[in-house]
């Protein structure tokens, strides 16, 4: 392999892939959500554009692209324009540190499916995904309108609160894996033979609930509760700026699902690694297993949305401060103790 390929083409290719991958996933996810919700509700859902309506999100994107960008004159111009970009940017940037699959061997060259393998990958990813809340707050504030402002305020409280259990449960994984490197965490699960989700079910449950809340998804979709706040923080946005918020939300879901799979369900590892009877499962490459697992959690998002009513603000906060945080603290201490004794 020439140095040109190794040092220029492959990194550029990876960068393009890291931008394209979330986009493709977003398109698939939007389609999946609309079709699955329709299925659950006894409807058809979009099925006209392309095979089974798979091109519907593309058609929607084209429509949004040609729509007028409206900004009311009271809006703060700078923040109003920055916030959709900020939301999208932070979601996409986080994918740099998330592996897209297991390394592929091509002859003597090993192609790694991630841009950066950082020793603190988990920390950076969580940090970057939290930046998106600034976009939400700025957007709600800059609109200078009441419903977006209320949405933004709800968002601040909600995301600040739910960051705590996310951090505490992610730390338990770090304890066990003794690493903050996302790739390393998967490797540790491979060598230890057990996925951390089964080792620490409580961690997984708390992490998942908090992650749903952090992505502003039903039943925790208060910042954009349509029956109350019209559209919440992005009420005043239209056209592509709205599309940015919309796509960033789905990209965030893909990111969170990837994190859940990496932290708790062995990333790209096929299931039942030690069991001979299930050796045939290794036929599928790791990246496919990884995708299947991510899709499962994305499906779970949709399933939850179609099933539950929306929380009210006070019970949402009660849930996190009275249940999830104490639970994750106890869980954290237990894991730390076990880790110390072993």
């Amino acid at each position: 392999m020439t140095p040109f390929v190794a040092d220029v083409l492959i990194p550029v290719g990876k960068v393009v892939a890291v931008i394209l991958y979330p986009m493709v996933m977003v398109v698939v996810m939007i389609w999946l959500e609309r079709r699955v919700v329709a299925l659950i509700q006894g409807r058809l859902g979009p099925n006209r554009v392309g095979f089974q309506g798979i091109l519907q999100p593309v058609a929607d994107a084209i429509k949004l692209f040609f729509k007028e960008n409206i900004m009311q004159r009271q809006a703060d111009k700078l923040l109003f324009n920055i916030s959709p970009v900020l939301v999208m940017f932070s979601s996409l940037l986080a994918f740099c540190f998330v592996p897209l699959g297991e390394p592929i061997r091509i002859g003597s060259y090993t192609l790694t499916l991630w841009i950066a393998e950082s020793p603190v990958g988990l920390l950076i990813t969580l940090g970057l995904s939290s930046i998106s809340v600034f976009g939400v707050i700025f957007g709600g504030w800059a609109s200078n309108s009441k419903y977006p402002l209320m949405g933004a305020l709800r968002s601040v409280v909600q995301i600040l609160s739910y960051e705590i259990p996310i951090g505490l449960t992610a730390l338990t994984v770090v304890f066990i894996a003794r690493s903050m490197d996302l790739v390393e965490i998967v490797r540790r699960q491979e060598s230890s033979g057990v996925w951390y989700g089964f080792l620490m079910p409580l961690s997984f449950v708390v992490f998942w609930i908090s992650a749903v809340a952090e992505t502003n998804r039903a039943p925790f979709d208060l910042p954009e509760a349509e029956s109350e706040l019209v559209a919440g923080y992005h009420t005043e946005y239209s056209g592509m700026k709205f599309a940015y918020f919309y796509m960033a939300e789905y990209a965030h879901m893909v990111l969170v699902s990837s994190l859940v799979v990496i932290l708790f369900f062995g990333g790209w590892l096929p299931p039942f690694p030690g069991v001979k009877a299930f050796a045939f499962l290794h036929v599928l490459p790791g990246s496919i297993w990884y995708l299947i697992k991510i899709m499962f959690f994305l499906f779970l998002y949709v399933w939850i949305r179609a099933t539950f009513p929306r929380y009210r603000f006070d019970s949402l906060i009660r849930l996190v401060w009275k249940w999830l945080i104490p639970l994750s603290l106890v869980n954290f201490l237990a894991v730390a103790l076990v880790r110390y004794l072993l």
């Binding site: 009271q74 703060d76 923040l79 209320m150 509760a225 349509e226 009210r312």
Partner: protein, 567 residues
Amino acid sequence: MPESAADRPELRQAFDALTGRFPDGVLSGGVEKGELSVRVGKDALASVLAFLKDEQGFNAVDDIIVLDNIRASGEGGKRFTVLYQLCRFPDFLRLRLAVDVCETEALDSAVPVYRSADWAEREAFDMFGVRFEGHPGLCRIYMPDEFEGHPLRKDFPLGGRDVASEAPRIYSRESDSLQALERQSPERGIRHSPTDTHPWNSAKGIKEIDLNMGPQHPSTHGVLRLKLAVDNEVVLRVVPVLGYLHRGMEKLWENLTYTQVVPLTDRLDYIAALSNNLGFVLAVETLAGIEVPRRARYIRVVLAELQRLASHLAWLGFMANDIGAMSVLLYSFEAREHVLDLFEEYCGARLTVHGIRIGGVPQDLDGTLVARIRTVLEGIPKHLADIRALLDENRIWKERTVGVGLIGAGDAVEYGLTGPSLRASGVPWDIRKDIPYSSYEEFDFDVPLGRNGDIYDRYIVRLEEIFQSIRIVRQALDGLPEGAISAKVPRVLKVPPGEVFHTIEAPKGVLGFYVKSNGTDKPERVKMKSPSFINLQSLEHMCKGNLFSDVVGILGSLDIVLGEIDK
């Protein structure tokens, strides 16, 4: 006092008590069509109302009706006659007070006595210009504040007038400052940081902000506008603003023949169009003395109860969607769809059905349709079981509904609540049971009651009513008598002079029609007492101190339809 009162001794008793107490105030009295109607002097009105409420137990004002006597000058030559339609329940007794008033005079307000008269008086003021002294905030309710004239007066032109209307300013405080800014620097246009006029900063030291909800809002069930004052998310005040859908139905009706009015009533509560038909038609039949054949009465019961099913199912879906359970909307609409299919098979229409005619019903129920109704009735409990599995014991649903939007039995009566919302507070008042019409006395059904009067109780009561409706329809189909489906009604129906106030139990509450005839084929005056309109009055009472999210849930739980509120 005419002899015909003898069949209702309570009526005579009430009348005697009234004349005994106010020998000068009571001018005349009479019973017509089983209704006691008493004419009192303007000055005695307030004390008569207080007496009737405190000592005679008339606990509700059904409606306040104004008659414009410009054509047939009223008694004493006064321009307006104001009718107070009072009601006593659970032991049913109804009384109509009539007061004559000139254009220049003002009446004493009934609001200090009857809290529920608030909006009815505002409506009377808006439509006729009758003023009420002592009303807490007498202003127009349907027409814009700057509107001139009073549309229901007989001398107001039928086609209306062109009105130069300026869009009301919603954020007065902000728009004032915005305009001030613009005046200062018109060449720059508006450019300021959010801190200048930001809603939360503009009123320094005051945490309260005004929030405008509607008329374009996903959960105001039409074009209702609520002016909210909130402190953070806590609701301090709720002021409903009506009139975005006001079509002047009552004015229209005065200029149409009785048969032409019926299809227009479809457009009132369009979720339960058939109940409106029934309410109006029954009032006209009572007035004209038309005896409806028994088979027609049974078919009406079948249709009305199917309509109640459809209405409650639609309510369930909207309500759940307001609280965020969107799948329930689709599930209950699927069930409703089957009921609407039945209407389609019966009369060709699904939503605005016009399924009842004066004198009877337009179509007979044939064997195949009866069989289809039975199949649909089989299927509905299955749909409901799915929905109940999703909601009944759901933690989030219970957190959102139990103890939210509380209204006690006393307050509920005081605010004039009717229908399922009243029964959810534990008041057993169902017109079908208490003043049976259209053969309801021949059917066996229960009136489900709630205990606490919260959203959850309203949910349970309506669900239970769906099952009771199924029961009634089954009984009516089993006992469907043979015979004609319509009485002989002349092609041009001329109703002898008289007046009647007839109420039915519509899905949303007590639906009343006051019809006054003048011997021609067109009514002199039709006034509709719409349940949604009166029920909405209690919204502020239920919302105060709750969170903003709850306003949406409480509004949903009241089951309002703007077509009926705005008439």
